[in-house]
């Protein structure tokens, strides 16, 4: 019921249209429309209504929107109303009023704590298939749509001197003092408005309504360029080095939410306090609410939570609530003073509260009410102070936990979360703490004139649970009541952490914000320990639920990783070449020609084309590192196992790099462009790794070397031109002839006047060149090369053909040098020079890495009926049972060779080099392949190398 006339807009809840005020919470709007029941409980499907008025709400979880955009488990106490808002209840079927799973409540004696663990243990196979799906359907919260989230989220970073968390009286005062001292301040407030509890209470500051003071301070803060006020922003976690996570609900201009990382030199936590309840029988009926929430609805939102209200509690808030409601014109039927031994011992009302039973020191009466406001006191919101292993300490004066000072480095607390429970104290605390904080930053606070405010002392007589029959709910969100905790203790789950896991108290989206202290007080009671001795469970981030979509903003779909394109990408894509990912690069797999229906046809054609005419391939993704300096040669001698100082200018050499543990790191070709100038190529996959490695060698291992390295991978576009007609292709394109360039030679050339580098190197076994130009000329050069190739009966080729060509020649890639192989294993131990030191040389001499039974690189080809080979398959003696203990090796690369008309494989086989000619067995257990294969030299084609020399 609304307490005043307001302008409203339509919204729906479970398909029924209601009217609400823009900006008020959905909870306020539902209460204003007389909707009492908003949810069914997690486990027993009991009717539940709104309990609170903030993000700690345990009951009123709803789904907002429908279809792919539906967002489950939104607290109706946080969601703001807008025109056309669609909200749906959760965990009820077919409807809230007639939820068939409410049968769970009737069998509740069997569904207590630990029920699932005890009942569904056996048979084991039933758990996944039968029990779990049924339980998940019967007990739960809102579900995800299963579709991709169409909403837009953002990530953002912010930096400040002082982060003030919470904008109640303490936070406002702290932000004001810090801002006026000249500090860069961020004031983060979870609510849509500043003021904290002042939004919900009737209080004066300096003789005027408190919200006038709030508005005045807000205006002053907004006027300061060094202060940033962030509303709807919940600080969710405190992390190392003054880093905080914060979740901002945006919901406008196409943006759903933003996840912030805020780095602050200092932080002032002014998070306030959360009200706790009292465990009494059937205290979960819709209409039983927190007293502070009842006041918030009346005072802030002008909404009456009932027409006949009773107030039950143990602090001065009982009288305060009665006063506010009466002033608002709401009938207060009775007050029940728990501090004086008066208790509510029962409630009635199937879908909403109709009466309560009150026991006043033995005098029992039933009173008709439709709302019961309950307060058990307030708990400082210590959560963030505990995110870095801090534990709060018990304070008898307020019967609750307060933060341990210094629990988060450079964080201090002020106001209610610091255990200060009246407005005057909060203002003073906020000002004093901020003064001290800015001083540590070398700033001086301006003198503050504190306004005059309420200073009524907080007096509490702790009451946790009252006598009486019936379930006394503690954790509404997880359906945990007093008996569950007693059962946990009886079954020896006496540690608070064990109790939590046994009963599930404190789990779920609210993380026990309204229930933790009551739960451990009950546990302390039944275990005969004090509350401080019982301790708290661990508080972990996030303080409020954060959608993964917000944390991963920008990372969905293709946003997951950057895409690197070569200069020939557009041309390859234009002729329909499917792309394959190589690290972050996209490379063409093959180039389908007219009439070709599968990749193998294209690949076979491209291989034949290179062997018979000429092919063009983009090799720009290989790492290119420019190395210069008087000691460039010495650097290469140190990082390569073989020698580069002896390489002549104008020549290139294959190089093998080891890790310091003696295994192969990478390989590639390095050319000497000048006396003190080399250009190194690395594999595509290892280009970053090798660059880091070279920097490490230069900065740390060999700082004596005068050389510099820089990655030029993206600066040069480089194309392979391979095949018997490659010379013919280049002659006429280059401004110079290429006939004089010897195998493994390199030269500076020009192409149409553009400076270029020509290397006569081959990864195909054919006469081949690689031509590099500055990247801005890459697309043009690629077009010219492909045109000229076509005129010679050739064309472009992709990764599939490149792979087959290199397998035919036994050239290795990272499929072979996968991190566990040595130079010995791949037959290159002869190029580990012992005449000089190099990275990995010492360890590569270990006996276990040389000789013995080590698996060695071999070629394999099918000789039996099964012609199919597969990478990853294992090798066995021809008559051995294909089980692990008989394993003698594995296959690393396979490809069909159109040149030899058979499938070829490279692999590693125990003592393989001595076993050429032997027939062994290849088994791929995953693909069900079992083939007889012959061991042979890994160089299948043109072993003499006549073709490459031309």
């Amino acid at each position: 019921m609304r307490l005043c006339q307001v302008e409203t807009v339509p919204f729906t809840f479970d398909g029924v249209t209601y009217r609400g005020v823009v900006g008020e919470t959905l909870a306020a709007a539902l209460i204003a429309n007389g909707v009492k029941m908003v949810a069914r409980s997690f486990k027993y499907h009991r009717p539940r209504g709104v309990m609170g008025s903030g993000s700690e709400e345990p009951n009123a979880l709803v789904t907002i929107g429908r279809g792919a955009a539906a967002e489950p488990n939104v607290r109706a106490t946080v969601q703001e109303v807008y025109s056309g808002l669609e909200a749906f209840s959760q965990n009820a079927w077919p409807s809230l009023k007639t939820d068939v799973m409410a049968v769970n409540d009737l069998v509740s004696p069997f569904l207590g704590a630990g029920f699932y663990y005890k009942t569904f243990m056996w048979p084991k196979a039933f758990w996944e298939k039968v029990y779990e799906p049924v339980i998940r359907r019967a007990a739960g919260l809102g579900g995800l749509s299963g579709k991709a989230d169409p909403e837009t989220y953002e990530k953002a970073f912010a930096f400040c001197d002082v982060l003030v968390i919470g904008a109640g009286p303490a936070g406002l005062m702290a932000a004001l003092v810090a801002g006026e001292a000249g500090a860069d301040v961020i004031l983060a407030e979870e609510d849509s408005a500043l003021g904290g509890r002042l939004l919900a209470e009737v209080e004066d500051i300096d003789g005027l309504p408190a919200m006038r003071w709030v508005a005045d301070v807000e205006a002053r803060l907004q006027a300061m360029p060094n202060v940033r006020v962030m509303t709807r922003t919940a600080v969710t976690g405190a992390y190392d080095q003054g880093t905080f996570g914060a979740f901002e609900r945006v919901d406008r201009a196409g943006l759903k939410a933003c996840f912030w990382r805020i780095v602050a030199k200092r932080s002032v936590l002014c998070a306030g306090a959360l009200e706790r309840g009292i465990a009494f029988p059937n205290n979960d009926r819709p209409g039983v609410m927190m007293a502070g929430a009842v006041r918030a609805y009346a005072n802030r939102w002008d909404v009456a939570t009932g027409t006949r209200v009773a107030v039950f509690g143990n602090t001065g808030d009982v009288a305060r609530t009665a006063r506010d409601l009466t002033d608002a014109g709401i009938e207060v039927v009775t007050l029940i003073d728990a501090a004086a031994g008066e208790h509510v011992i029962g409630t009635k009302g199937r879908h909403g509260l109709t009466s309560i039973t009150v026991d006043r020191n033995g005098v029992v009466e039933q009173i008709e009410v439709d709302c019961l406001a309950v307060t058990g006191g307030w708990n400082p919101t210590v959560h963030l102070t505990c995110h870095m292993n801090g534990r709060p300490v018990w304070d008898d004066a307020i019967a609750s936990f307060v933060p341990t000072p210094g629990a988060v480095p450079d964080m201090v607390t002020a106001g209610a979360c610091h255990g200060v429970f009246h407005t005057m104290g909060c203002l003073l605390d906020g000002a004093q703490i901020a003064e001290a904080v800015v001083k540590t930053l070398g700033l001086k606070a301006k003198p503050v004139v504190l306004p005059d405010a309420d200073a009524t002392p907080y007096v509490i007589t702790p009451v946790w649970s009252v006598a009486g029959k019936g379930r006394k709910w503690i954790d509404y969100q997880n359906d945990v009541h007093v008996k569950d905790i007693e059962l946990a203790a009886r079954e020896n789950f006496r540690s608070v952490e064990h109790m939590k896991r046994y009963t599930t108290q404190g789990m779920a989206p609210d993380q026990g914000k309204s229930s933790n202290v009551v739960a451990l007080a009950v546990l302390a009671d039944v275990t005969g320990r004090g509350i401080p001795e019982t301790g708290t469970t661990t508080f972990r981030p996030p303080f409020v639920p954060v959608p993964i979509a917000a944390m991963g903003a920008g990372g969905a779909g293709m946003g997951f990783a950057p895409q690197r394109y070569t200069t020939s990408h557009a041309a390859s894509a234009a002729v329909g070449a499917p792309m394959i990912e190589a690290g972050l690069w996209y490379r063409p797999s093959y180039f389908p020609a007219e009439g070709e229906t599968n990749w193998r046809q294209s690949c076979d054609r491209e291989v034949n084309m290179v062997r018979e005419a000429v092919g063009v391939v983009d090799v720009s993704t290989l790492g290119k590192i420019d190395i210069q300096g008087p000691d460039a040669a010495a650097l290469l001698d140190f990082v390569y196992s073989n020698t580069f100082s002896t390489l002549k200018v104008g020549r290139a050499r294959y190089g093998l790099m080891l890790r310091e543990d003696g295994h192969v790191l990478d390989d590639g070709t390095t050319a000497r462009l000048g006396e003190n100038h080399y250009v190194m190529t690395t594999t595509t996959a290892a280009s970053g790794l090798v660059m880091r490695h070279l920097e490490f060698v230069l900065q740390v291992l060999r700082p004596d070397l005068d050389a510099r390295v820089i990655s030029v991978t993206e600066q040069w576009a480089q194309f392979g031109v391979a095949g018997p007609k490659s010379r013919e292709l280049l002659n006429g394109l280059l401004d110079q002839g290429v006939d004089e360039l010897p195998f493994m030679g390199c030269a500076d050339v020009t192409v149409g006047g553009v400076r270029a580098r020509l290397f006569r190197i081959s990864f195909s076994g054919e006469m081949a060149f690689e031509l590099a130009v500055p990247a801005r000329f890459g697309a043009d050069l690629y077009g010219a090369l492909v045109d000229r190739a076509a005129a010679l009966g050739g064309g472009p080729y992709g990764m599939e053909a490149l792979n087959v060509l290199r397998i035919e020649k036994g050239f290795i890639t990272h499929a072979e040098i996968h991190g566990r192989v040595t130079a010995f294993d791949i037959g290159l131990d002869r190029i580990v020079s012992l005449k000089k030191d190099c990275v990995g040389q010492a360890m590569s001499r270990r006996a276990g890495l040389l000789g013995g039974d080590r698996a060695q690189l071999v070629g394999l080809k099918p000789v039996g009926d099964v012609k199919q080979l597969s990478a990853g398959a294992h090798l066995f003696e021809s008559d051995a049972e294909p089980v692990r203990v008989n394993g003698q090796g594995y296959i690393t690369s396979v490809g069909f060779s159109p040149t030899l008309g058979v499938m070829l494989a490279l692999g590693f086989l125990d003592r393989g080099r001595a076993r050429h000619g032997e027939v062994i067995r290849m088994v791929d257990h995953m693909r069900g392949l079992d083939a007889q294969v012959e061991v042979c030299d890994p160089v299948f084609f043109d072993p003499e190398g006549g073709r490459v020399r031309g």
């Binding site: 190392d240 080095q241 543990d661 900065q699 010492a842």
Partner: protein
């Protein structure tokens, strides 16, 4: 986590590549014997407390850094250029 690179200033840890213990700075001679090499390549302490790590400012200046930090508190107490340490 943020690392105060002596060249670039305070930067987010995403700019850095982590390698491991700064023991990698003290490379043995090639004929120091396999025990020395085994220790250099494989053996690492796992302290609860101060540790010296190598970080590479890969998305920044390219410097290798020795970062002293506390594995218990994650506090970073010192950042120096690796080349200054080995000098």
């Amino acid at each position: 986590m943020r690392i105060n690179c002596p060249v670039c200033g305070e930067r987010d840890r995403r700019e850095f590549y982590y390698v491991g213990d700064a023991v990698a700075l003290d490379r043995p001679d090639r004929d120091a014997g396999l025990d020395a090499w085994d220790s250099y390549v494989h053996l690492r302490d796992n302290p609860a407390g101060l540790t010296r790590d190598l970080w590479h400012h890969e998305a920044g200046c390219g410097a290798w850094l020795v970062v002293t930090r506390n594995t218990g508190t994650h506090a970073v107490s010192d950042v120096v250029l690796a080349r200054e340490v080995v000098r």
